[in-house]
Amino acid sequence: MLAGKEIRRAKLRFGLLSGAVGLLVFLILFQQALLGSLLLSFTGALENQSGTVLVFSEEARKNVSGSVILPPEQAQIAAVEGVGSSAGLAEGTFTIEAKGTDVDASIFGFQPGGPGEPTRLVEGRLPTTPTEAVASKEDASDGFGLGDTVTSVDGGITLTIVGLTERSRFSVAPTLWVTFDGYTALRKASNPDATAVLPSVIALTPAPGVSASQLAASVNEQVDGVQALTRSQAVNEAPGVSSVNTSFQLILVLAFLVVAVVIGFFFLILTVQKQSTLTVLRAVGAPTSYLVKALLKQIFLVVGVGLVVGILLTLGAVKGASAGLPISLEPTTMVVTAVGVVLLSLVGSLFTLLRVGRIDPADVMNRQNAGGLA
């Protein structure tokens, strides 16, 4: 009751604190949503294809776009013991005209039936002819919907969308999956001087009884000039992914720290200002637990309002920002962030709680205005 009354009488102070916490929660949540969507849009295609091992050329430094596997290496990789099946997977960026607009699109060329096929098909079917393609569901409204036709601007080849994938974009761009023959035709049409169209990586599935990591190790041991990675390694170690991850983690740690510091110091100042009042309360019989509970109530109320404000702002921003990059906020991210903010607020307020717990009712006798000696 005391806690609520104080808040009602000091709306500005508590309002400012809740507002600051709300904005910090918004920053934390929005950046997490951005990070998740960015990483998924960077590497979703690698994560959701059927090859459990991907073999890159060594000089590509785990970058699909910079990798080329030459024919002798392809033969050597296929001959490694433990390989169940192998197939070339090519990737390139093309200018595609969709719905009358030219857009940059990543195109993957895969061998139908072989490793490297998209695995998150949600509508339609996989392509079977060179002029068919599967697109990302996330881009369906931009002219990449089922039954739509898109045209490769540099070469004039028209592709019909026959299926849609989810969570399978690459390099934060609309992503199409075509047969390897279709990819070869697109490449040759865009550059008549191309001497060969080679796969960017080789996708592998291990033979029965062989794990993906064992197979990757065998390929690295037996074939020179290539780097084999398991699918999860290829996703997590893709260029840019780890640096984006580290940068955002640092930003998030700083933002969480600011939450703890702001809340902790706010309640500390407030407690110091109220010290004499709290001492009187203790002297007239209010137990320590009553004062601690009142303080905890205020902390939970301020953090609760801050969380609601932050979540609402984030949901609004996510809705508004989904034009370029399909940003989404996972419920688990919200829950984990909320729990983290509450815990950090309690940690930040620990010193204040201890101070309240240590108030000695006898100190009231030191108050000059109560006849004490000070």
Partner: protein, 367 residues
Amino acid sequence: MKLGLVELRRKPLRFAIAGSSLVLLSVLLLFLGGLLDGLFIGSTGLLRSQPGELVVYSSDAKDSLIRSRIDPEVRAKVEAVPGVSATGGIGVALVGGQLPDKTDLVNLSVTAFQLPVSSMPSDVSLAPDQALADRSLQAFGVDVGDTLLVGSAKTPITVTGWVSDTDYLQQGGFFVQPDTWREVLADSRPDSNLPPDTFQGLTVKLDSGADATTVADAIDAATGGATSTLTKSEAVQALPGIKEQNSTFSAIIYVTLFVAGLVVALFFALLTLERIGLYSVLKAIGASSRQIFGGVVIQAVIVALVSFVIGGVLMWLLTLVLPAEIPVAMEPARAVQIAVGLVVMSALGAAVSLRRVVRVDPASAIG
């Protein structure tokens, strides 16, 4: 106002609470700003350093250098356009390079040039096996005299000097002769092979007094729409992700500045509350609301500036331990922008206490 300064000098710890929050926010702001600048510089250096005012791509490349191709016939049409003083072919191959005695590879943007970029001597001359490397590659162990094995064919190329601010799409600038670039491109990406005299793009120098936009339009008209000609700044903005990156990071920076304002407002609201009695005494002996409020604002500004300096030092220490892969660049202009933002938001935050200061009644000093 003086009283405010005296209090700051004698009781600096009283302001440590707001200060520590602002220090953390300063580090956050500088890191965000540094990351934004680092990403921009590392992606756009090649285009920004071009000597010409215009960049010409083939129209079907959607302003992407890697997908563009300008053959000699198109180039001749460009050169015939009135206002064009000179053209230089440019091309890039994004490949890995291996350092001598090291297994690690560095990301290179092997770049062909015909007109020297801004950081090169005007009479630059390279042999087929020589290159000028961007200074950013020093962080990855590259030095003058090193012979790097470049691309799939491991073509040996020796670094003979430095260029600066020429990176492209986060890969280190590595300037070579056009024929060397074509060789690397053909070996590493056979599907991107280009014949002799064909480049991916052109940098176009203009006659003095020529209007860049008018000449750009004239070039695209002269080539019958086969080209897309952009000014240098348009070409930079057309790079994938640059605009989105800029708007997202700027929004995060502005929200963080707003949080800083709220923190300062909160702190000074509490501080003012604590000093109500003192303010009434000051008013009773003749101090005006303006003087008292001026003191509060000056305290907020000084706390913000000191916090920014401490945050700047912490950020500088952080850059020393951050891995080279994280593209953080500390630009003076960005630091000034953040410092000004922080000071303005702090002053605005402190202004929240104005109403309470004005309402202090001098008569309350006597009970």
